[in-house]
């Protein structure tokens, strides 16, 4: 039965436009349908084929989408979107059928009602979460001044709402409020968000996970004096953790971030500071807990030919300075210059940059310093031909182990872009690289080499064809060496059958070779894709 699924899907995809096109009225286009169909035929062979990611067979993914739009009663508009997915490809989706998007909206210039899949966006720390629920927004003056409210479930799949799935996490719901005031030179937002796990969820889930209840309040702002922009956010959180068979615990956390960017005395500046407490762990917003970060960077055009930049960043965890932890501090210094029109050549550009990265651990179980030099030269070698060379030596010093390691990276790249007769254009890229890594265990260098060639032909109207070849080898000082060849040929065009249609055919070959031939295997894929919109 499964083998027939791709054919059925393909047939449905090809048959459906005729039906739906007839439904669209000539005067107002209120229904739009698009579809993405992909059929992949895969063949895996060789003694080591069990290591392959893929299994031989034919797989299909069909993603149709329906959009509905309608205006009514003066300035009111309504819209809806429905996007399901059908597939027999477990790599894409473990379920054969799932609803990717189901949403609707009714709005005019001052009011917006939303339901279904909705991006509940309050502020970064408080809430930025896809929910399945409802939302209302009331605008004042314009869309920059508003009050927004949202409430819904955090379930990742629609089916989690109505049936129990073994992979489903504990049911979680939440919502938030946001008010924003904006004027020419500033913007300010007040946010409140809450998250609540479902205490009535099944016992099986409750034994696997603790339940959480969280409230977050946040103030975000932006101020634009002259050509500078400053923005920030300040948030506080209360989280209650409720294990199944233990007493509840309550944590309080806070987070702050401030950023400045702009142009000061001809120097482009950007700086930021962020401090997120250990117990600030938003379930609906986002933050990297227990971390303090500083960042400052500047770049300036010194003369029409010279440009310089400098960057400094520092971050560490363990904000409370607990003796039970080892605080890790990362510090990066970057400094570099770029010179254009070197040696009088119009397009010859050279840059030199140095980076020092330091990783320190409080008790010096790890204490490393890495110095990297980067030399990059690029030039227009002929009318359509560009070339570049990159060289990076790196010295790693591990102070705690008293070891030094030297690594080298080289890359050469040539690219040609030219016009051909009959509006065709041709892009060619050839690149080669080598990475030599000092192996302190085997006391030798591990070498990785790679090369790639891309040939791409295209012409206006959406026709594109080409081929690509990529080779990479790993040569270990001690251990199993390997080599991977990847080849790809592709053809894409837009047939003028109906609507906006794109069709593509692609062949991929990957050959994996090891010094142990029992591990060798090959992968062949033929991929047929069809997208259309009416």
């Amino acid at each position: 039965m499964l083998n027939r699924v791709p054919l059925l899907i393909l047939a449905a995809a090809l048959a459906s436009p005729g039906v739906t096109a007839a439904q669209a009225p000539a005067s107002e286009k209120f229904l739009e349908i698009d579809s993405r169909t992909t059929v992949r035929m895969t063949q895996v062979s060789g003694l080591g084929r069990s290591a392959s990611f893929y299994r031989s067979g034919t797989y299909a993914v069909e993603e149709p989408a329906l959009y509905f739009r309608k205006s009514f009663a003066q300035d009111w508009r309504t819209s809806a979107e429905f996007r399901p997915r059908f597939t027999n490809d477990k790599l894409t989706d473990q379920r054969g059928f799932s609803i990717e998007t189901l949403s609707m909206e009714v709005r005019n210039s001052s009011r917006i009602f939303s339901a279904g899949d909705y991006f509940a966006v309050m502020s970064q720390y408080s809430m930025s979460q896809l929910i399945k629920g409802a939302a209302y927004q009331r605008n004042f003056r314009n869309e920059e001044n508003y009050l927004r409210a949202a409430l819904g479930s955090f379930d990742g799949q629609w089916e989690y709402l109505y049936k129990e799935d073994p992979n489903e996490p504990m049911d979680r719901r939440g919502g938030g409020l946001r008010g924003q005031l904006a004027r020419d030179k500033y913007r300010m937002g007040l946010n409140w968000a809450f998250v609540q796990d479902d205490r009535q969820d099944s016992v099986r889930q409750r034994t696997r996970e603790d339940a959480y209840y969280q409230n977050v309040g946040a103030l975000d702002w932006e101020w634009r004096p002259g050509t500078l922009t400053l923005d920030g956010e300040h948030a506080a959180m209360v989280t209650t953790r409720a294990p199944l068979n233990a007493a509840r615990t309550k944590n309080h956390g806070h987070a702050n971030r401030i950023r400045i960017q702009g142009n000061l005395l001809g120097t482009r500046l950007q700086g930021s500071f962020e401090n997120v407490a250990k117990d600030f762990t938003p379930l609906a917003g986002s933050a990297s807990s227990d971390r303090r970060r500083y960042n400052l960077q500047a770049d300036r055009r010194l003369t029409p030919l010279w440009r310089a930049f400098a960057k400094f960043s520092l971050s560490h965890d363990d904000l409370e300075g607990s003796n039970l932890k080892t605080r890790t501090t990362l510090t990066n210094y970057d400094i570099g210059v770029t010179r254009t029109k070197l040696f009088g050549r119009k397009n010859l550009e050279a840059s030199l940059a140095w980076r020092r990265s330091q990783t320190d651990t409080r008790n010096y179980t790890r204490d490393k310093t890495s110095d990297r030099l980067q030399v990059n030269v690029s030039d227009q070698l002929a009318k359509t031909l560009r070339g570049s060379i990159l060289f990076e030596p790196t010295l790693d010093k591990d102070h705690s182990r008293g070891t030094d390691a030297r690594h080298y990276f080289y890359e050469v790249r040539l690219s040609d872009r030219r016009r051909l007769p009959k509006s065709w254009s041709m892009n060619t890229t050839l690149s080669g690289r080598e990475r030599d890594t000092d192996n302190l265990v085997s006391l030798g260098y591990d070498r990785q080499r790679g090369g790639a060639l891309l040939l791409d032909f295209s012409r206006p109207g959406g026709m594109q064809t080409g081929a690509e070849y990529d080779l990479s080898t790993t040569d270990l000082h001690t251990g199993t060496d390997s080599r991977t060849d990847r080849g790809r040929a592709f053809f894409e065009f837009k047939p003028k059958v109906f609507g906006d249609m794109t069709s593509g055919l692609e062949y991929n070959l990957a050959r994996y070779r090891f010094s142990d031939p029992l591990r060798n295997y090959d992968e062949h894929h033929v991929r047929l894709s069809l997208t259309w919109k009416i």
């Binding site: 790599l91 971390r291 400098a310 210094y333 790890r366 890359e411 690289r433 251990g479």
Partner: protein, 472 residues
């Protein structure tokens, strides 16, 4: 060393600013526009025709900010034209010369800007000298975000670090340098990378275009040759830099720069809770760890490194024996006092960071007449607590508060471990769970033969190397 960036920045700021092409009217007597920002872009980044997208507009309006100055008097007015000089409109002006102007551009129509600054003595800058055009293109951010994501994926699979970093925003929300090093470490540690993503949503969150996807991934460790795979879901953010979208943020679990962990990720995707995720250790090996699933999650813990295993001390030694298979420490017998000592230590992990040792002690003076059992020292200077459970995998977290641990441990650290119980161990650098599945230790006094000490102990351990008390 920390002073060097400050000195460098001071030098940069102090360097003489040369006139750039966007500096209007060059003669000393005329007013000029000295700073200009269009929709948040600095003038020096402007080109003749500035192409932008609707998401760069503020409430549908294009905002122009700047500052004009003059050598005589002060700036009296700044006039802006959006139709090539046919009509001029007054911008809002402050006494400092700073001005503000906004208007609603028409999509796909070219607007030709000219700005004229007039000072209080009546002199004016040449509006044509700094003219530029703007064109607002239809919003194709969704398609662009998808194309950029596919491009990043392709470059990552090809191990093209330079190409990848060229598509990362200058103000990447995480640590850009760490991401670059993380990519380098990924490429050094993984000999084969395969990722199949499945897009779940693409949408705008503030000024950031977010792309959420699930993925199936398979990699091969270069050092061990192991092939590991995982699947989960995560989010990436893209912002517009110039005319192009660039990678701006990544939530954990990471698929790019995996080795950089929390330095590259700026948040944790809560929906990925409970998934087993691939991580690259500091030693360059690839391991599978549990993605944080609860409120204790932090991005830096996504590379949480839980080591599990068993250590055993199995030995039987008689007086005077030197059994090298058992221990380098021989059973010592002094005939006069019959002072017996025995010590055998086993390490749970033999590396510079994160180890727990268990030592079996038998030190009787005089020796007991019957089996008395050993005492054990679990990692000197550590704290220990009987958790009252028998299954280590049922323990999600242990307390980080020293007061929660046993207080009755003598100064020499000797404790009696009960077989079948799980103990939480807190050392100055890590947390561990220890379960003595077998803990037999006996002494047989000489009954015409030698003294014999027999130890048969097996410990199951879980060590959290990421310095956090979570074990999920």
């Amino acid at each position: 060393m920390t002073t060097s960036p400050a000195i460098l920045l001071a030098c940069l700021a102090a360097a003489p600013a040369r006139s750039a092409w966007y500096d209007f009217a060059k003669n000393d007597s005329a007013p000029e526009v000295v700073e200009l920002q269009v929709a948040g872009r600095q003038m020096e980044n402007l080109v003749d025709v500035l192409e932008m997208f609707p998401d760069e507009l503020k409430g549908g309006k294009l905002v122009v900010r700047g500052k004009a100055s003059t050598t005589r008097g002060s700036i009296g007015a700044v006039l802006v034209s959006v139709d090539g000089g046919a009509n001029f409109t007054k911008a809002q002006l402050e006494r400092s010369g700073a001005f503000y102007f906004d208007f609603s551009p028409t999509i796909e129509r070219e607007h030709e800007f000219q700005i004229r600054a007039v000072d209080t003595t009546g002199r004016a800058s040449d509006p044509k000298a700094g003219g530029f055009k703007i064109l607002v293109l239809p919003d194709k951010s969704r398609e662009e975000a998808l194309a950029l994501f596919n491009k990043l994926l392709e470059l990552y699979k090809k191990r093209d670090r330079a190409g990848f970093m060229a598509l990362v925003a200058e103000d990447f929300e995480g640590n850009r340098a760490s991401l670059e090093e993380g990519l380098e470490n990924d490429f050094s540690s993984l000999s084969s990378i395969d990722i199949v993503p499945s897009i779940l949503r693409i949408g705008k969150v503030g000024g950031v275009m977010e792309l959420e996807f699930s993925f199936v991934r398979r990699v091969q460790s270069r050092t061990s040759g192991k092939v590991l795979s995982d699947n989960s879901r995560t989010v990436m953010g893209f912002i517009r830099q110039g005319d192009e979208l660039r990678l701006y943020s990544m939530a954990a679990p990471l698929i790019f720069g995996v080795a950089a962990g929390g330095e590259a990720a700026t948040s944790v995707d809560a929906t990925a809770g409970g998934d087993k995720i691939l991580a690259v250790t500091a030693e360059g090996d690839v391991v599978k760890v549990d993605q944080q699933q609860t409120v204790g999650a932090t991005a830096n813990q996504t590379v949480s490194n839980i080591v599990t295993g068993q250590l055993s001390i199995v030995c039987a030694m008689a007086t005077g024996d030197t059994n090298t298979n058992c221990s380098s420490v021989a059973l010592d017998s002094r005939a006069a006092t019959r002072n017996l000592t025995y010590q055998q230590q086993r390490h749970a992990r033999d590396m510079n960071t994160g180890e727990v040792s268990v030592t079996a002690h038998f030190n009787e003076h005089p020796p007991a007449t019957a089996a008395t059992g050993c005492v054990w020292v679990v990692e000197p200077n550590s704290l220990i607590r009987d958790l009252g459970v028998s299954d280590p995998s049922s323990v999600k977290t242990v307390s980080s508060d020293a007061a929660d641990y046993e207080t009755a441990i003598p100064a020499n650290g000797e404790v009696r471990l009960v077989a079948g119980r799980v103990y939480a161990v807190k050392t100055p650098t890590l947390y561990a769970l220890l379960k003595a599945t077998t803990a037999n230790c006996s002494y047989t006094p000489p009954g015409g033969g030698p003294d014999v000490v027999s130890v048969n102990a097996v410990f199951e351990y879980r060590i959290q190397l990421s310095q956090n008390p979570a074990f999920y």
